[in-house]
Amino acid sequence: MSQSDTLIDIAQNYPSEQNLSTLEKNVIGDRVLQVQDLLFESNSDDVDYTGFRHRNGSTDAVGVDTSKILFSPPPQPIGYERFQAIQKWEGQVISVGEETFNAQLAPLIGEKDAQQEAELYIVDIDPSDHFLIKPGAIFYWSIGYLDGRPSGRIKASILRFRRLPAWDANELKRAKLKSSRLEDLLNVEQ
């Protein structure tokens, strides 16, 4: 159902004296309340409660009454993809060549051996991420199982570069420096 079809359908079913902007406001207001109720656990006496989880038994957070909204959500999938990492590294690019780049890898999940260097093919990276491949760039490389597909489990390798606005990198540096100083202090005290 297109958005314009839905608006026409709603307009026909509402009193004629309501104009479309009022209708839209009411419908969106209802929609907002539905989303709010369905997403967050309300059984808390803490006004700043930060717990969130998908409804137990639901593969998606939002299940809505489509008769009152302007946007029709896509049909709920029967299953959904999920990825379980069996090995994961945080990498930092050392140098970039024509077809490959060298990186230092620090293990996060799986075998936690010492840091190691690796040479990776640029063609294995999504073309829209190639501009991120620079010396010093951080990426996360996961190898694991991709489940929830009708065709069955596949073993997958997912490499995603870190995306931070440029000036945030300075904030990150300051935070890391502070953390490093604290670590040094704790090591001295021990």
């Binding site: 969106i28 207001g29 929609r31 907002v32 989303v35 709010q36 997403l39 967050f40 700043d48 409660y49 930060t50 717990g51 969130f52 989880r53 998908h54 137990n56 038994g57 593969t59 957070a61 939002v62 909204i69 302007l70 946007f71 959500p73 896509p74 959904y80 993809e81 999920r82 990825f83 379980q84 990492a85 994961k88 945080e90 996060l108 999940i109 999504d126 829209s128 991420d129 996360y140 996961s142 694991g144 997912i158 995603r160 870190r162 995306r163 931070l164 606005p165 000036w167 945030d168 904030e171 990150l172 935070a175 890391k176 502070k178 953390s179």
Partner: protein
Amino acid sequence: MPPQIEIQAANIVIRGDFNPAIFHPSWFASYELIRQEEADAAKIQIVHPDAAVFSTDWLEFNVMRDRFLASTKLESHYDSIRDLVISILGLLSQTPLKAMGFNREFHCRLQSVEAWHSLGHKLAPKIYWEELLANPGMKSLTIQGTRSDSLAGYIQVKVEPSNIIEHGIFVTVNDHYILHSDKPSSASSEAIEILNEYWNLFLDRSLNIANTICKLEGEE
């Protein structure tokens, strides 16, 4: 077959004062926080002054006026969720913030129906309930503990029977941080620092909690 975690997800929730209308996928792409292709393919449910809800193939994003949520079901993207929230907090450093929560959820398959019942009995002994109710069973259990670091907040663990996996359990861990800073820019910096320092620790701790609980069923 030992107990196995089969489904999991992680998310970051922030409580504060937000302007949902700006959180359109195109805004994210304009700052290169997500790929342009991801923004173009995003499934937008609503973008409105009171709510913004959209999803990509790895990200679920929901913002209300007083709540912010970024979630993923892909373990490969747990770090990307953290980076995304750091970026947003940095770009919107004047947003008043009150609290932040790290959340992770697991559906764990147990070995058998007997193991499933056994775990329920261990977590919530029925001896006191059997006099009060017929066939008492654990529906939901929440335990809260204090933080062992210097930060204000708490850690809460909830366990329920899983509604997705037969003879499974659903474990959720909420790592709650109270943001104390009086100035919005300080709260934002504080939240960024917590994300940088504690996100990976949270992932390790929550996984350990879930694994320990799942394996209780096998312990005498």
